[in-house]
Subunit: 598 residues, 2 copies
């Protein structure tokens, strides 16, 4: 295990290993897609942590996980299968390795997890160190802030390493960042550091001595009362690419019991020229083969720009996902009407509620998996006062390579019971525009959900209206397939020919809330197959079953949807196949219902 | 409107009004129940805000709302009907009055709402002031912290008033509190203030002059870089019961455009000796008439103490609800095994995950309405790694007087689709103990949900086991009533005699996840009535309907549950009646099914 071997490495050997690992990361991300910039920035700090600490006895907690590739390489994982079905996860995964203390897909939780680990260790009488490696963007998240401010005392043998690359996924203007960075102190320290490096070689005894002084001088230069007040000894800032310095500082930290907040300054995309120049673009990289387009996200940008031209009230809100949700064009066209909250979904949603109360029409654009972090604000701040906030929810359904921590499988069960909240699922990008106008026009809380990746356009376009909520796409008589969501509709249409000799009526159930009650009542005597790319539990199938159950109407229906389980990385198509959500699965369900009925 | 009249009041008149309002608040809470200590503490600061600002043109945003009674009295609300059906809400409610800018039941959102209001105003070109009144406990919540740290700039004409009573619902040890309080500076200021008051009468011109200086001196004494760095001008601390000082400071603040953070120090329970002496006890007060006991909460305390004796690993975790969930006894018996996170539900749950990973067995005790703030941590931190965290969820179902913002109506739809999470709903306090042991014994993530208030014990006790998940309580043949939750079971039993001539089989469906599949399959040929005190949408009825739909089993079932709408304050019984959730409603459903079947 490389993680063991490097304990004997010299700084020079570590440096050459760092370059080698960088090459492996660039190659793997090029082949398989993944997070590039953040991982390139964290190579040295991860190496130094592994050199100094004894994982997995000591605990290493990532926050978030998209800086874990070096850690994976050091602990025997193979990046050539990164994010592929059966291959290496793109995030820490305790099932994959005992070196991964926790999953880490959503930001801000490492410090809380670490505090909990320490409390358990104290009760047990253990001695291990607990180390969190947290990005600067994660630090601004509410969970991280709650954890930092929760107590004036922090546990012993607890180390928080801030990997500060000076930018979150986008740019970081937060006050917290200002508090942490203290540009002047940093400049002074850098001047001092440059002076040392220029004047004395590292190998000279006097140079080494001066470096020792430096660490205490630095503390004096940059006394950070912010973290001291929260119970940490603050150390930093340290050059996060200087292995010699990193190892020395970490050795010192390891030797003491006090809780330490170590501030490490890194460069995102380090060592890969293109990523250094434009780290945001290389944050998440699509694999070389296949896909990459995201037609709903593209459509969103176009829709918002066009509507914003006509409606002064329209503003866009997101939470560190500007590019991902398709708002780059909007950001350029309407820079003062885009509000990026950073990784602070709760703040983003509550602020949007305030904007709506003040007369604006905010469109909140989030991934499904992150929307779930703001559930309470959706209920209490948006839906209770019935404010006109429109949520555009990308990555709804199966997300592919990001895997377990990022699936968009909860939003339907979360949202469809919230009073006064409409929920839509358009069948393709063209219908997205219709649905957007319909939802926006109603001036009440609403959610439009749609998957990532390319979705083929579906022929036929019957605009959504109060009297025509759902759309009958094909009119076979033997069985009705109620399909909800773009991928489900596409697969239901594919299933037609697989159902022979039975002919199916495919319905595009583009409104989850409200359901098309008139149509459902008409269909009650037909055998029904409900189909969605999501959990049956609390999902669309559940909504249909419940519609009839509330009215005491007996129906013959069969639900095709996913069992409630966490879904690992693979392509979205592979994931759908593993869950029984293909056109073939729909056809099998249809046949079962038709044979049964005859 | 008193709010208008007081603009002409002298300080002396305001003082006498303050005493009068205090009396009204004490009387109303004595009659109707409600929040006493926090409201008594906020009398003067609310009076001063109304004297100086022009609400509702200026916006007053409470955080949280349990300090709003003075505001309600000033704006024409009648507290004699406080929390009663059709009466005055115990929290701000925009439907009740145009003076209530937002609902405010959950903590920490005011600053985000205020920022949003200001952003809307700037786009509109408005001039109104936006004022947030936030308690010190709310300030430690993640949403508030995200909002404070989101940007180095805060909007113009934005005022955050911190009502600092030095304690949250319980006691406050947070680092944030330390940052805010700065005891030494406060002491120095108080000495200075006392010197001024002792030396010069307020009426003397020189006294007034010195007071003016005082405000600038104070700024110098207590330069608070914490808030300055976040874009606020910091003013404080100010004596929150000194109307003269409050009005003077607020007049100054109103005259400038800069965003201001005003730090006001108040005394919880002020003016009511018993509440001053023990403010936590008088935080929430039960009405003189009726109820008050909470048997599940009482049971929880007993269960945890008994199990903690035997199992060293058991620890309890809560979030500023120690008394409310029934942990006071546990807190005394095992002070080092109770972890109160303050109003930081996300931190509480993520920390519990860390504890569980470290070998402890945390029992997280929260109200249903606040649990929904930690949904993402339940999924990502607890259930994904399948850590043995047990959630005891109080106030599940209808909560009575707290009303719309506090109903426990979302947890079922939120939680029952989360992979690997068991969900239980015991029928009474005795069964709670069985269910607790069963759930705890399985060593996986689990939720036990139960209502507040007294619940009568139900005869018969068939302990829960893997082979007997549900319990058949009565064995009528005409129709099966599947009842889930303590109140539903009690009412289903009451419904028996109302169903004549039909006889019903009442089943205690004490496990929501997993369902008792074997029993459900056996019952498929019987007419079924499902019954729960909750939303049908995504709820228990939905789970049953979906069970059959997944298997393509046709059933005759009728769901008795609530429509998805927000439920105002009233007694829980009145709320149940309004939603159609009484024994009579069950009987009507049974009759419908039986007549239909014949």
């Amino acid at each position: 295990m490389l993680a063991e071997e490097i304990k004997k490495y010299s700084i020079k050997q570590l440096r050459s290993l760092a370059e080698e690992l960088r090459g492996q990361i660039v190659r793997a991300v090029g082949e398989c897609g993944g997070h590039l910039s953040s991982n390139l920035g964290a190579v040295e700090v991860t190496l130094a942590l592994h050199k100094v600490f004894r994982f997995p006895e000591d605990k290493l907690i990532f926050d978030v996980g998209h800086q874990c590739y070096t850690h994976k390489l050091l602990t025997g994982r193979d990046l050539s299968s990164l994010r592929q079905e059966g291959g290496t996860s793109g995030f820490p995964d305790p099932e994959e390795s005992g070196y991964d203390a926790f999953y880490a897909g959503h930001s801000g939780t490492s410090i809380a997890l670490g505090v909990g680990c320490c409390e358990a260790r104290e009760r047990r009488g253990g001695k291990e160190k607990v180390v969190c490696l947290i990005g600067d963007a994660s630090l601004g998240n509410g969970v991280a802030l709650e954890s930092i401010f929760s107590s004036e005392q922090k546990p012993k043998n607890f180390v928080v390493v801030l990997n500060d690359n000076g930018m979150s996924i986008g740019k970081n203007h937060s006050a917290l960042y200002a508090a942490v960075s203290k540009a002047t102190a940093k400049k002074r320290y850098r001047r001092f550091n440059a002076f040392l490096s220029d004047t004395f070689k590292e190998t000279s005894a006097f140079g080494r001595y001066l470096r020792k002084i430096k660490y205490s001088v630095k503390g004096w230069l940059n006394k950070n009362s912010f973290f001291e007040r929260c119970g940490f000894k603050y150390v930093g800032p340290v050059d996060g690419h200087d292995l010699s310095e990193l190892c020395a500082v970490l050795e010192n930290i390891r030797a003491i019991e006090d809780p330490v907040f170590l501030h490490v300054v890194t460069q995102k995309g380090r060592g890969y020229a293109a990523a250094e120049a434009d780290p945001a673009r290389y944050h998440g990289v699509a694999p070389r083969l296949g896909g990459g387009e995201n037609t709903f996200a593209d459509a969103l940008g176009g829709i918002l720009c066009a509507r914003a031209e006509k409606d002064e009230r329209l503003v866009a809100v997101t939470a560190a996902m500007t590019d991902g949700v398709g708002l780059s064009g909007f950001a350029q066209a309407f820079p003062d009407r885009l509000f990026d909250a950073g990784i602070a979904e709760s703040f983003a949603v509550a602020r949007a509620a305030g904007m709506a109360a003040g007369g604006l029409r905010p469109v909140v654009c989030l991934y499904s998996t992150f929307l779930q972090r703001a559930f309470d604000q959706i209920v209490e701040e948006v839906c209770l006062p019935a404010l006109p906030v429109l949520f555009c929810v990308d990555r709804a359904g199966l997300v592919g390579g990001d895997g377990k921590t990022h699936q968009g499988l909860f939003d339907v069960s979360l949202l469809r019971g919230v009073p006064g909240l409409d929920v839509y699922a358009p069948k393709d990008a063209a219908e997205f525009a219709d649905v957007f106008d319909f939802a926006y026009g109603r001036g009440k809380p609403a959610v439009i959900r749609y998957p990532n990746g390319a979705v083929p356009p579906v022929r036929g376009r019957m605009p959504l209206s109060e009297g025509a909520l759902w759309e009958i796409l094909t009119d076979g008589r033997d069985c009705t397939v109620l399909a909800c969501g773009a991928r489900a509709v596409a697969r239901a249409l594919q299933a037609q020919k697989l159902c022979a000799p039975f002919r199916i009526r495919v319905v595009n159930c583009r409104t989850l809330v409200p359901l098309d009650g008139a149509l459902l009542e008409r269909l009650a005597s037909s055998p029904l197959v409900t189909f969605e790319e999501g959990y049956v539990s609390g999902g669309f199938s559940s909504a249909v079953a419940e519609f009839y159950a509330r009215r005491g109407i007996p129906v013959r229906m069969l639900a095709v949807g996913a069992e409630s389980r966490f879904v690992s990385h693979a392509s979205a198509e592979e994931q759908a196949a593993a869950l029984g959500l293909t056109a073939e699965d729909v056809a099998a369900a249809v046949k079962k219902m038709c044979v049964f009925t005859r």
